[in-house]
Symmetry: D2
Subunit: 336 residues, 4 copies
């Protein structure tokens, strides 16, 4: 951390800051320039920089080390892949996760699993808990839904991803799913993240719509510090002034995270756009920008879907998209 003093800082004010830093456990390197004094504070203590900013004659306080450590590129300079059976996430192969927004019935999820698998999806998605709808709407099938999901995945030789909403659900979910998804609203539910760090299955953490990339990486630290390194980040749209779509899918977050961290990045163009007709272009863009995977909503009969029908791809749209994606990843030396 570097503390820049104001030009007119007195010796007393400077000492005051040095005292404070020393009490906080830092080693101090003082550099007295012609116009101003700069204090380098070296140490591992996490400090709320505002405490120092508010001290007299302090002009600015700058953190010099990234606050996220375990997720930073420096931690695994050799690169990283999540391994799951015969699947690697974060390697040369781009992974497609697809399925319905919500599991509605055994037949529905099996039908959809069949058609997405046939076109190249490796992981089956589907929600079992749907608390966000109105009190009178479909709330999800709960554990029954997870069972259908597992059965469909086994039937079509796929893996399963589904969202965990609270700590109490973790043990039950571990019986059915291969990847635990943390929704955008829980991105800073640190108790939940910490618990997920104590179990070994991969976790996909969704970025919140008002969360910076730095905050998202910080959230992954809660899982990583528990010892579980099988973490991937999912970009699913941020809130901006542009309202022609629900969110602005931040495609640039993909290369930014790829530079800062070794964690695989997945993109969710279904939630990121909210409209079926915008999903294929944004899916292609995410992959072209370097995403390690996509999570897509697909439904064979979206007009009757119990949840988010308008953002579900139709089967033939999905098939066409997969063909395009194969061409795009090939141009970048990857496969699907």
């Amino acid at each position: 951390m570097i503390v820049v003093m104001e030009e007119k800082a007195t010796e007393e004010q400077i000492s005051h800051v040095i005292d404070r830093l020393t009490r906080l456990g830092f080693d101090i390197h003082r550099s007295t320039g012609v116009t101003r004094t700069i204090l380098g504070a070296v140490g591992n203590r996490l400090v709320d920089t505002r405490e120092l900013e508010l001290m007299d004659a302090v002009a600015e306080v700058v953190r010099i080390s990234t606050p996220y450590k375990l997720s930073s590129k420096a931690f695994k300079p050799e690169g990283f892949e999540i391994s799951m059976g015969d699947l690697q996430i974060g390697g040369p192969s781009v992974i497609i996760m697809a399925g319905p927004c919500a599991v509605e019935s055994r037949d529905q999820v099996d039908t959809i699993a069949g058609l997405v698998k046939e076109n190249g999806a490796k992981i089956l998605r589907g929600g079992a808990f749907k608390p966000r709808t109105s009190p009178y709407s479909f709330q999800g099938l709960g554990e029954e839904g997870l069972r259908y999901l597992r059965e469909a995945a086994d039937h079509h030789r796929m893996y399963v991803i589904s969202e965990v909403m609270e700590i109490s659900q973790i043990p039950m979910m571990l019986e059915y799913v291969d990847i635990l998804q943390v929704g955008a609203r829980n991105m800073q539910n640190y108790n939940l993240l910490r618990e997920l760090g104590k179990q070994p299955k991969p976790v996909m953490l969704k970025r919140g719509p008002a969360a910076t990339i730095e905050e998202t990486l910080l959230s992954t630290e809660y899982i990583l510090s528990g010892g579980n390194h099988n973490v991937m980040i999912c970009e699913r749209g941020i809130r901006t002034f542009e309202t022609s779509l629900r969110y602005t899918l931040d495609i640039s977050a993909i290369p930014v995270i790829n530079k800062l961290s070794y964690l695989p990045v997945i993109a969710d163009p279904s939630h990121g756009t909210g409209r079926r007709d915008k999903v294929p272009p944004m899916a292609r863009a995410a992959v072209a920008a370097g995403a390690d995977g996509l999570i897509l909503e697909v439904h064979h009969d979206p007009d009757s879907a119990l949840c988010d029908g308008p953002q579900a791809l139709l089967p033939d749209q999905f098939a066409r998209l997969m063909v395009e994606l194969r061409g795009i990843v090939a141009a970048m030396g990857r496969t699907i």
Copy 2:
């Protein structure tokens, strides 16, 4: 326009609104429902909807026709291409515009033109007026710069795009350039736009960093209404809370504009990211999302560039990117 009255609106309040609408030249269709009255106002007058929103007992006012007409898809349902010699913009071919941020010398621009042309760029970019730098910085070569640009383009059989900053520059610029670029800061300089509508050369209008897509389309109307239909829109990044890059390149604007309008869409990943290492992934993403072209900064010696060196691609980066782009557009049935 539709005016929704509040549930408790009195007959007198409703009459008041009807009177106002009639005076404004609208035909009124009144629909009296069980709970509330709705007034449909039909007519071509442009009206500030706030005037009506502020009237007593008005709950909401909704414009029902898009305020942009000449740029909307309905105006040219058969599609549209800008033709310029042997080049079509907006057709199956994706057009690459490339060159230095600023024209620095005859040699510099000729060298760069040669190398971008060799790799597939058809249009040479370069700034001649650079008012945004500090008073002591390079201000651009002015008309001399345009001459060098034209010579280099002719030498390498390319077209020229350069930015016009004020009305007074138009006649002079028309002698040298093939496409007139309007910068983001002039996006709502309506006087300039109107003048550009009176001349026939293509215009590329850049979206402002705080402008919605709707506002951008509205700005094109000023050019289109003058009779010049050779207009393209350039997405170059919007301001959001995410500050890891200068701007957030709004890739989703590409499919959104493609749905609303027939005008070709170009993306500018150089300004949209501000950093060379982020340009290739975002260039690929823009093309994968359906952009009709890219405008890219390239410099053979960016460390010595007089303007925006950090966002200029190195020659070999550009060459590699062009190879990747060719693969991507092929996957979508297009060419470069």
Copy 3:
């Protein structure tokens, strides 16, 4: 809801939309204009407008009734106050809630309660659960903290507000607190909101940093629909591109909500700015804009505070602010 058809919509496409609306349970008023057809759909069913937007030849779909009903001004046109003993929130008196970020000890909270009460605060705030800190930081005193809070409030004849984080905490919290606060991260935790609608104590719902005003009002519906009308909304800052402070306290949300809803509005300048020196100006601004109350962090020794010390007002700052606030509310015909 109004469905605007495209100009070139065929009769078949229009029938298709009418069929869909009819099946959804709406009554249809068709208005066939010279250039386009407009369908008014009357009914109480909540519908995802995207379903209609994606139909062929639909140009636009507009909801004409506010989706929030129970919180809208029309529902209680005569105004509304939350009554709690001798206190009314939402009436002529502006209510000050103050106290530490976190309850740290019996002494700490009693000391702070004494000094804020002396200066005019009526409600004591203090957090008992602090899950947001790092695993090694202070996590809050839990139920013990609530007990200290209650004792301090009783000692100084104040009311208590504290944050509830999950459904399971509700019964225990009801033993200690007078107002249940829902944090920004739980603003769309609908299960929690629904449970809070089933108990009678007032609830203060904090707006999320990426939530629109409309979404915030929609969230209150979950509490109101359970029969508990003692709801207030708290503005605590939104995420914008301006990063000089943590959040941008959206002062304009105060008059906007005051126009749309009868629910009292509280402002939180401590979280909304994150820095002690910015709290007094923003507290004054919020009250001047019409806030019904403020929630403020105050600490007698913020350098030693276990949580968010930099945003806690010092006792003398708080005292001075209260004097200024009294003058400001008097100018608007209110009291503190």
Copy 4:
């Protein structure tokens, strides 16, 4: 400027950075820590930090001095007031600027001048050039409008503020106006700003809707460096995801600028909200937050106004607001 090297930076990479900094004219202080090396670069050269960020093994580059110098508090620690006849802007008195959006006729502006003066406004506002309307709308009266403005101001003993749109207008405007306003769209028109630095009359610079506070302060440097220190900043709303009003008036910018700079801050709640009913609460809030003045649109007959009628206060609203404002500023030890 401080350059933080990556943990694994080699000695060669570090030398490379030192070379570059030396060539750029900086003195280097090298600090070699246990885990990483930090380079302090001291000097006055302005440098694009991205050039260094892109070098090998550079983790981060941090500017340590504010890029704005002439506008910073340190430059005039004793405070600053703009003096204009018997008026001081930035002193204990809060200054009200009021008048119509556009000058429409001699009578109109004289009538409005009379009523705003009577209620305490000291400065008369009014636009003479209105390029932003559609080609068929009122474009402003031009020089004739400025003459009416001057006559009305003289008649009622007021000062005049009006917007200058281009360099060529400056000499003519100086004949009529006392304060030159720079609109948000011209905030980064550096040529215009530089010219305004060469004349002595006060300038009010409006912040752009996508401009950070730092960028706004940087823009003032262009005027200040010409020798004209009579500069004030106007907050008029930023673009955010909240669309219930046109812009989000960033009230917190007022105390932030007051801390960073000695320049007076004016707020424009008329443009910042776009709706008459929201102007009084936001005007009160701005003043309560410490604004040195307000600029307000007032019209005696807004329904017939040729420009922005919906955001003009009615005369009695303005009178009532002025009474409230007097009470508010009194509570803060100021006057109107």
